[in-house]
């Protein structure tokens, strides 16, 4: 008949469905595995029995109070970071953009280091300061880049400049306080240890708001991929659209940084892999990124807390160490991923 209801790119929709289905299964399996492994290893059956019994037990406490919140946090943080990175890549039309580009990491870092080293009495409110610092750095970079409109190259350059100034300040403070750096280091190498349900709740609210807003960013992000003039022709307010997308992206990234510290590479790496798997249409690529980064971050954190017994490797470090080589591998194989 040939008159089958053809949606925009029905082939890729099918493919995306398959990819997302697989990712969901992987995510569930990872969650189960992550519940069972750790300093005490339990079988699934032991966990089920303990969790569903009325009595209090060590297993129940460990799984429900320690491992499960951590698992949920990993998924939420991953989702937020990859959505943030994916949106920024559309704003900049540059595959190397990530939340660090617009100063989120450096800004949060500056605020955190200032609080931890100069005003330690305020460290209870660290997340708030980190969030504000991230937002301020981002606003500063954009206002420096503004010149009758937003030009991605100018944002990147102004980002490089401001990141370097903030970086210098951070290094200086650390040098002056080199005996008191454990808190700072923990923040700089984002870690999920010590996460409790209360943190998960806060992160869930942030992520829900940010991810809901990013739904409205899908179409503008797609239009921006066609070039500024084409986007304008299609009725997109290019400057406004870049600002809104950046704001959503910065919000998501600042939220994660303020809750768990800096976790690099997820925002850059995962949207790329998603693009290779399902193509560049944000309608499909964004949800795929979100699911995929949940898997990636959960896997990285699980590895980080189990690979060396008795030692917690922060998830940020695991991500960078494993993500780099894996990314290179994907890059070399890219032809294969595009063939389908």
């Amino acid at each position: 008949m040939g008159k089958v209801k053809r949606n925009e790119g029905s082939v890729s929709v099918l493919r995306a469905g398959v990819v997302c289905g697989i990712l969901l299964v992987v995510l569930v399996v990872l969650m189960i595995v992550s519940c069972t492994v750790g300093s005490g290893g339990y079988s699934v059956r032991e966990i089920m029995e303990a969790v569903f019994s009325e009595e209090k037990s060590t297993i129940k406490t460990i799984v429900l109070k320690l491992r499960l919140p951590r698992i949920m946090m990993a998924i939420l943080v991953g989702a937020a970071l990859s959505a943030s990175g994916a949106l920024l890549q559309a704003v900049m039309r540059n595959p190397l953009a990530d939340p660090g580009t617009i100063g989120v990491s450096a800004g949060a870092g500056t605020a955190a280091i200032t609080v931890l080293l100069i005003f330690p009495s305020l460290s209870m409110s660290l997340p708030l300061f980190a969030f504000v610092g991230a937002a301020l750095a981002c606003v500063l970079i954009y206002s420096m880049a503004w010149k009758g409109g937003i030009d991605p190259t100018r944002i990147i350059l102004s980002g490089v400049a401001i990141n370097s100034v903030l970086g210098a300040y951070n290094s200086m403070l650390q040098l002056l306080n080199s005996d008191n750096l454990s808190g700072v280091l923990a923040f700089m190498n984002g870690s999920l240890s010590g996460v409790v349900w209360q943190h998960v709740e806060i992160m869930a609210i942030y992520a829900a708001i940010g991810l809901f807003l990013s739904l409205f960013c899908i179409r503008p992000a797609n239009a921006l991929q066609l070039g500024d003039e084409m986007a304008k022709n299609l009725g997109i307010r290019v400057n406004l659209c870049r600002i809104c997308l950046s704001a959503v992206s910065a919000f998501l990234a600042a939220a994660t940084v303020s809750q768990v510290g800096m976790i690099g590479f997820v925002g850059l790496l995962v949207p790329h892999i998603a693009r290779m798997l399902v193509g560049s249409d944000y309608k499909i690529m964004l949800p795929t990124s979100i699911l995929l980064s949940g898997c990636v971050l959960l896997l990285a954190d699980t590895i980080g807390r189990t690979v060396v017994p008795g030692l917690e490797i922060p998830v940020g470090i695991v991500m960078s160490v494993t993500g780099g080589p894996f990314f290179l591998y994907m890059l070399r194989k890219r032809g294969k991923f595009n063939a389908g």
């Binding site: 053809r6 925009e8 890729s12 797609n222 084409m230 304008k232 022709n233 997109i236 693009r275 193509g279």
Partner: protein, 259 residues
Amino acid sequence: MQVDCKNIQVGYGESVVVEDMSITIEKDKITSIIGPNGSGKSTVLKAATRLLNYQKGEVIVKGKDIRRYKPKELSRCIGVLAQKHSAPADFRVRELVSYGRMPHLKPLGGFSVKDNELVDEAMKTTNTYHLRDKSIFECSGGEAQRVWIATVLAQNPEILFLDEPTTYLDVSHQMEVMQMVKNLNKKTGVGIVMVLHDLGQALEVSDKIIVIKDGKKYSEGTPAEVITPKMLKEVYGVEADVIHLEGRQKPIIVYKELD
């Protein structure tokens, strides 16, 4: 419908590229804008389609200045294909052409049956329907140009602006695009405005030609009125004859032999 540019001044920053220019573009016609490099042809086209802000004057579409339109509302009246555009390598032709429907969609709304039909129709009109499942990077230069035109056409505009649609194409692809543009205009009545470099093409395809020199309008009229040895000398600084051949409706330009 028509697009009226009244005394517009356009420039980049301090420098003024186009000064006090007034042109009128009508629906149903093919209008070409010609002129030497740097004369401001593309700048006029961009100003008339709000890709570039003008500093003075006004551009009136359907009795209203284009600055007072909502962006999407204007996108439903006029479509413009600039010289610069790009698409991710994995985009299929049909996917790309579908973006032309964007100004007609509700926020978060999907495609209706009519949207899908218009996308198919735009591809059929531009002879790109058979390419629909190909990636845009597998298309030849001429095919890709037709796909981009299909994208703008899917907007269902009343007037279509094309900035140098044949530049970088070889002769056969140039002819293909020109023939398609002509058919499009005849069949659907959509008005077409093109910035062209090739005077022969402008002569062949246009109902009306606007000549621009140093950011000012030099002359306008039918091809026969505008393309004259005098204009070629004064605007382009070349010696040429415009001669009529038997059996051909349009004259041809014969440039002076080089020494």
